[in-house]
Symmetry: C2
């Protein structure tokens, strides 16, 4: 690592220097920049963990709450970051890390992200973002068109309209979902006669005005936990989030949805929104969107689709039919930092109706004046970065057919892995991949047979032991650091809805090969042998069951 | 700009390439990286606007909602971004752009931000962030200590505790404020007897349980517009945000606060929080925090301090007394992307009580399991980037004494500019700088005298014409592109609370010199001459007043 010449001191002169752009390729900071890039590239290329350090050990490096009284050289601090932070970070882009939705990134985004950082625009208003504002509006327009496919005239009319908004760019899917449900709540409890609307008078007066005893948001049992947060923050309470039953394929049961809607209305509880999930976080399932849309239309209820993870599938003409019905939604959430391969912090919510966001519009004197095109008048967040430019750049450099290939190969890879698991004698595919996500567990055939045969408390006991084993394998594999699958708990119909801990994999990294998938299974098999006493307990229980 | 060799096509092979880390300094992408840096540095160094293009012209470059069907070369697209986006962005770091709170950045953050982008960690859980999680907890601990100054033991005990949280890192001050008020609301309406708490049962049942007729948040007339959003989203309604009168110095009048609290309680409306502003966005004023704390203690009401912009003043031992009383607050918002000179997207909220965030805690099965140290169980947002590392790095490289110097010079510069304005015959200082923000307007002495003398509709008319002039000057100056001041509307006591449009400047850029400040005034004087018909109208009215 290059060492800069200037002293690490706190004179005003040295502070002025750090705000000054270095001149030419020979400046010390430019050299640090180049050397840091090489270091990072090496780290990313090798995909290996230098040393697995337990969290409580890592915490020792981050234990002081004292803000340093002594300045450090940039070069020294960079070394320090490489040693203490980078080497103990997670290789989210490693092809064998298939347990999370955090994407590997196209390399060209590294240089391009400099534009975002260096220009440091604030998208809340045009005064601090200029061309970034129309760019972000265009990105929202592109995603809107991808979902709703309106005519060119529609976008010419609304995309840059000061009084309208096709959606909001935000830090992620949670804020996107909250924004959609905020709009839904405010539209359900809008101004009416002497009542000025929930946004003005609040929820208590709104309920009394409309004479409701409660409000509800309906979503499948597999809905994302962010919806619970939304129900809490918006004042419905977590009890206002009503879970609709799912079928053996983890899809919402439309008849149960209808029954729940009827039940709520009988209790004088107003459903303000139904959320259809297009790619659940745990099983990657897509709800039957057209049927949900029908139910919503019947009940005059906002239909929101949470496609935070699955939405990018619309880029593939070969697979967009899997999300058919999304175009019927009043609002749709898509995270670009998931299957659009953009760095963390790029969520979006799109609204079918360009007038929809009026119910949450905000203005102020020094900012977001009425009639301005300031984006901040329609976002839950205030100051925001120019992250939309990375979505814009990726759309142009990769193009839709490029994304189509990425989506297609992910889905094909998940299908391949599902088949591979099915061919194994000692693994069980727990949920089939609809998109590129599947769940499975290590379950040798003799244990499987015993679990099928067992009854009552014996069945519960064996199931519990298998869960412990799954958990052990997942943890040990993560700690070993060569590969990573995540885990979650499902209640599969074919196992009588027992709590079942499973491995969860998301196959979105184009660098993940079939060989890697085989070796992940091989490693899990080997890890199972590292829990001899747990395996002995399992075998003992299995024997008992076979003998009974 | 270097041109990469490979064709822009959509084969899977070329897509794999874009996810592959380039080898060595001679790779095409490395060359593009270097060449882009040079371009950006040149752009940032020159601080000039190539060409002032009106927004509707810029929009033409961002008019298609069609996602491209053809891929582009990285090099070609980079050129395109430089031409259409970079050259029409706002020079937020130019020393003569003194109209906004968006900071100039220390240059070392450009290379270091690569670590954040390249590693693409997701701070929602340890599985996808590892060492970034303790790092973020440490950053929160540092800011907590800066505000509350607890003992080392306190931080050893709580900073890394799985069951506690000293605050939340978020995308910005708006989310930080919403988080604080969400906690305040949930604690005010907590579980009690058979009632399970507002987070579970919702606002309507909570109101009935506690027997309140309404909820309120109190803040000075100068409070940030984000609080209105917070009142809306949290279900209080914007009417629930009660504006407390301010004195001639734009500070909250404590007697009016007391009167409003009494009034609300007489109406059976529960005040869930009082917000003290430590650096208002429009005038940079700090409310009398110790007195507000006293009122809150008397009424058992959450005391929140919005120090999004002003909070960094605590870094200066010479000026931290200006924020005295912040340590009495239950929660404090600070934006690192303002006076801590971090790129956009770094807000924080800190809570005095490590137990405070329990009222908004969330868990899920596959993530944020109970007992885990996952940060996501205490944030409104879900997936989040590793932005905290830039705060961490800047704290170490600049150090507290370095920040002290930056804060001190900003405040001194604002004082210098205020004196300079007072020395001019044709400018009026409208609000004195307390921190580094002040407001003023162009008001030649003859016009000023006439405005003082005028009565009734004549006074209104002249005031309106002066407002038009201020607005004209601000707009023209912005469009000319050499310098930028923002504008807002105040109601100064010494002008009988007339609507008064003013220039607003924030002097946080260390590169802004005294010469630049003089030239900003000079330019405004010259621009005033470019509105001859408006000036003639003003002169005519002035004459009439003098003659009456």
């Amino acid at each position: 690592m290059v060492k800069e010449q200037k002293t690490a001191d706190v004179s005003f002169e040295s502070l002025l220097k750090i705000f000054t752009i270095p001149e030419g390729p020979d400046s010390t900071l430019t050299k640090i920049d180049v050397s840091l890039s090489q270091n990072l590239n090496e780290f990313l290329r090798e995909h290996i963990v230098a040393e697995e350090k337990p969290l409580h050990e890592i915490e020792k490096d981050f234990s002081s709450a004292q803000i340093p009284e002594q300045p450090e050289f940039v070069s020294d601090h960079t070394e320090h970051l490489l040693d203490t932070l980078v080497s103990h970070s997670v290789h989210t882009s490693a092809p064998s890390f298939i347990g999370h939705m955090t994407s590997a990134l196209p390399y060209f985004l590294m240089p391009l992200s400099k534009i975002m950082i260096a220009l440091n625009q604030n998208l809340v208003k045009i005064e601090t973002s200029k061309a970034f504002t129309p760019l972000e509006r265009q990105v929202l327009g592109m995603l809107h068109r991808l979902i709703y496919g309106q005519s060119d005239d529609f976008y010419t009319k609304w995309m840059h309209s000061a009084k309208h908004s096709l959606g909001a760019f935000c830090s992620g899917g949670t804020i996107a979902n909250i924004t959609a449900l905020w709009v839904a709540r405010n539209r359900a409890l809008k101004a009416n006669g002497a009542f000025k609307g929930v946004e003005k008078e609040g929820l208590f007066k709104a309920m009394k005005h409309y004479g409701y005893d409660g409000l509800a948001i309906l979503v499948s049992e597999r809905g994302h936990y962010s919806l619970k947060k939304a129900a809490d923050v918006l004042g419905l309470g977590q009890d206002g989030l009503v879970a609709v039953k799912t079928d053996a394929n983890n899809r919402i049961i439309v008849d149960d949805l209808k029954a729940k809607m009827a039940e709520l209305e009988a209790q004088n509880i107003k459903p303000i929104a139904v959320v259809g999930v297009a790619g659940t976080t745990e099983t990657g399932t897509v709800d039957p969107l057209p049927q949900i849309a029908e139910v919503c239309a019947t009940h005059d209820c906002h239909f929101h689709v949470d496609a935070a993870w699955g939405g990018a599938t619309l880029m593939s003409n070969n697979h967009r039919h899997l999300l058919s019905g999304a175009e019927l939604a009043d609002s749709v959430t898509i995270d670009a930092h998931k299957q659009l391969y953009i760095p963390m912090g790029a969520g979006m919510v799109l609204f079918k109706d360009p007038d929809a966001m009026k119910s949450i519009e905000h203005h102020a004197q020094y900012i977001l004046r009425k009639g301005s095109k300031d984006l901040g008048s329609h976002t839950l967040e205030g100051s925001r970065s120019g992250m939309a430019m990375l979505v814009y750049a990726a759309m142009h450099i990769i193009s839709r057919p490029g994304y189509e290939l990425l989506i297609d190969q992910s889905i094909a890879k998940a299908r391949y892995f599902a088949d591979l698991i099915n061919q194994q004698d000692d693994f069980e595919l727990v949920s089939e991949p609809e998109l590129c996500l599947l769940t499975y567990r290590y379950l040798p055939s003799d244990i499987r047979l015993a679990l099928e045969k067992a009854q009552g408390s014996q069945k519960e006991k064996l199931n519990e032991l298998i869960n412990q084993l799954t958990q052990f394998i997942q943890k040990r594999q993560r700690e070993t650091g060569k590969s990573f699958v995540s885990r979650t708990r499902l209640n599969p119909a074919h196992w009588q809805h027992f709590n079942t801990i499973v491995f969860r994999v998301v196959l979105a990294n184009p660098l993940t090969t079939n060989e890697i998938l085989s070796s992940v299974l091989e490693e899990q098999r080997e890890i199972a042998l590292q829990a001899p006493s747990l395996m002995a307990k399992i075998q003992k229980t299995v024997q008992k069951i076979h003998n009974s």
